[in-house]
Amino acid sequence: MTQMSGAKMVVQALKDQGVEVVFGYPGGAVLPIYDEIFQQNDIKHVLVRHEQGAVHMAEGYARSTGKPGVVLVTSGPGATNAVTGLTDALLDSIPLVVLSGQVPTFLIGTDGFQEADTVGITRACTKHNWLVKDPAKLSETIHNGFHVATSGRPGPVLIDIPKDVQFATADYVGPAPTKPRHYAPTVKGDPAMIERMVEMIETAERPVFYTGGGVINSGPRASELLRELAEATGFPVTSTLMGLGAYPASGKLWLGMLGMHGLYEANLAMHGCDAMFNIGARFDDRITGRVADFSPGSKKVHIDIEASSINKIIRVDVPILGDVANVLEDVLTLWKQRGSRVNREAVTQWWVRIKEWQAVRCLDYRPSQKTIKPQHALERLEALTRGRDRYITTEVGQHQMWAAQYLHFDQPNRWMTSGGLGTMGYGLPASIGVQVAHPDALVINVAGEASWLMNMQEMGTAMQFRAPVKQFILNNERLGMVRQWQDLLHGQRYSHSWSESLPDFVKLAEAFGCKGIRCSDPNDLDDAINEMLDYDGPVIFDCLVEKHENCFPMIPSGKPHNEMLLGEAKMMGVIETHGAALV
């Protein structure tokens, strides 16, 4: 054992956990830790412009690498600014370790300068958190924090470290090889349930794989196994917003995303199936629509690592508690042992129906020669970046849904979006986090102008750390999704849903020292996108798009999957009053 200061322990523990980069912002209560960071070169520190940005960057880093993201913030406002990011990571199951400074232990509870009850405030938005009052427990707590953040259903943890603990000296303990702790999530599925799932695969007439973020979180092996299982059975695959890329969009079994703005064929397949295989998704309300009418004729399997997700919203017939990769491995092995059987004839008939739904071409939109349609902009972005190792982040709103519909993901960990919490301001910092993890990759944040403004200060971070992130802003000068709901649900009374006094984004780019591009003519679009892609450095791309485009398909709140609005549908009056109460 080695004696060292608490601050040194923090840095040592991060090194021992294999941490390469920390996103943070200094302040009074973390100065000893920053002093230690200054005196070493193993861990890179990315200085952000606002602590929320630090947490979203760490999320982008974590989601694109599968490794935990690490954040360092000071006490009081430093910690409270991190709360939105923590909540975002909790809802999307992103592993984060957030270290916050705290006033010295003898000042806790006295309303000291920059004091906040950080552990109290973040209790509801972390998977677990700790206030470390004893320097002897600091290193063990940090190692525990990494274990909790990354095991089971991943999530954010926070460790609050008072300043006197950072100065105090104690024994440093390295990461324990085995952790004899009661906190040990189940990863292996129940063999009896796996057998029932295999029986369902063998007999299903109208099957569908409904995959989610759990496949991504389980690691690359889970995506490989999903592809193997899908190809071997020939069953159609759809995915939630969180799971895009687990099964390739170029795959022949791909139905596209499902849910509120999911594809017609995906939602109708979910509604009409007789065997639903939920793999690492959680029956979120964006997916189910009206719960009572959700996929009424199907038997349902649910694979999830989290017991509380099973039977929470939808009662399932075959619950399988375990890690996706582990369970799929067992399912494939058993299914092959039993002769790799499926009801081929029925599944072929099922595909005939699915092809009819696909023929509706629900993503068609009315093209324009005069204005850039947002869908068109994304189609061109997709076409011009195809084949490149491309990472996409998004903000929240219409552009996010269009990106999910029109961009194609063939690999996991290439798509970073705020799904559960819907955090506007997520995409720009997340794109920087992704770029820090993959310095040579093409990283694009598909943004709306309103979301983008929420964390635009992070362009300074992108410039300082030479992160050549491309900010592709679909600028409709509206809070598009809010406007769409007001259009459909609130009598077209557009209450505060427009963006006035917008900055000149090209001049803004110049002010930050990066490149600004503006495009408003569909005929110039390809050249402008290529100019963005070719530029070696951050770009703010102001893409002026059609202002009043609505995002379709759409399942209005309170409606089942088979009552969907398509682009050309008549919209007034289709959403009932009780649906308007939902969000």
Binding site: V119, R123, A124, V148, H182, A307, S308, N311
Partner: protein
């Protein structure tokens, strides 16, 4: 014993309840936790944050060396909600075990209560007589008041409270339910 409402099964090995049933059940949960700072706040925060009910809650350290506390929660909800509560409790990192004493087999439940009853003459005599019937102890006495100590199921304590009310019940303090499974 527990007053189990219609629709719940406390003694069957099989869960025969209608999962979509709207019948509200009362369950007693025993939660074994690390006795660390903030653990009670985590449990209570879970209940308030997710909109679950707490009818009664007791907590105390039960293993000093192992730093374990036992939290006994009496809660109400539909079968699905009760299952969610147990799963959500199980998610908390400092929680070691969650036992649903209402479905895992017979259990004993006891609660301690203190009653302050004031009165003169016949009321005073009647209060003392009823206290004897309920096996309540007198732990404080003045010429005009008694403090009774009573232990029993919540129903017994409710019944005693109902009887004391017309006889001059002034104040009451209840500990909440402590419960253990019967047998080994």
């Amino acid at each position: 014993m527990l007053n189990i409402k219609k629709g719940s099964v406390s003694h069957s090995a099989y869960d025969l309840r209608d999962p979509n049933g709207e019948i509200i059940e009362t369950h007693t949960l025993a939660v074994l936790v690390d006795n660390e700072s903030g653990v009670l706040a985590r449990v209570i925060g879970l209940f308030s944050g997710r909109g679950y009910n707490i009818d009664s809650l007791t907590v105390a350290e039960v293993d000093h060396e192992g730093h374990r506390s036992r939290i006994t929660v009496v809660t109400t909800g539909t079968a699905a909600v009760i299952e969610q509560i147990k799963a959500q409790l199980g998610r908390l990192v400092p929680v070691h075990e969650v036992h649903d004493l209402t479905v895992e087999g017979p259990a004993v439940q006891r609660e301690l209560a203190l009653f302050k009853v004031s009165g003169k003459g016949d009321h005073r005599i009647e209060a003392l007589r009823l206290a004897e019937i309920f096996r309540a102890n007198v732990v404080d006495s003045t010429l005009e008041s008694f403090v009774f100590e009573i232990t029993g199921t919540p129903e017994k304590i409710d019944a005693f409270a109902d009887l004391m009310r017309p006889l001059g019940l002034r104040e009451m303090a209840r500990t909440g339910v402590a419960a253990l499974a019967r047998g080994v």
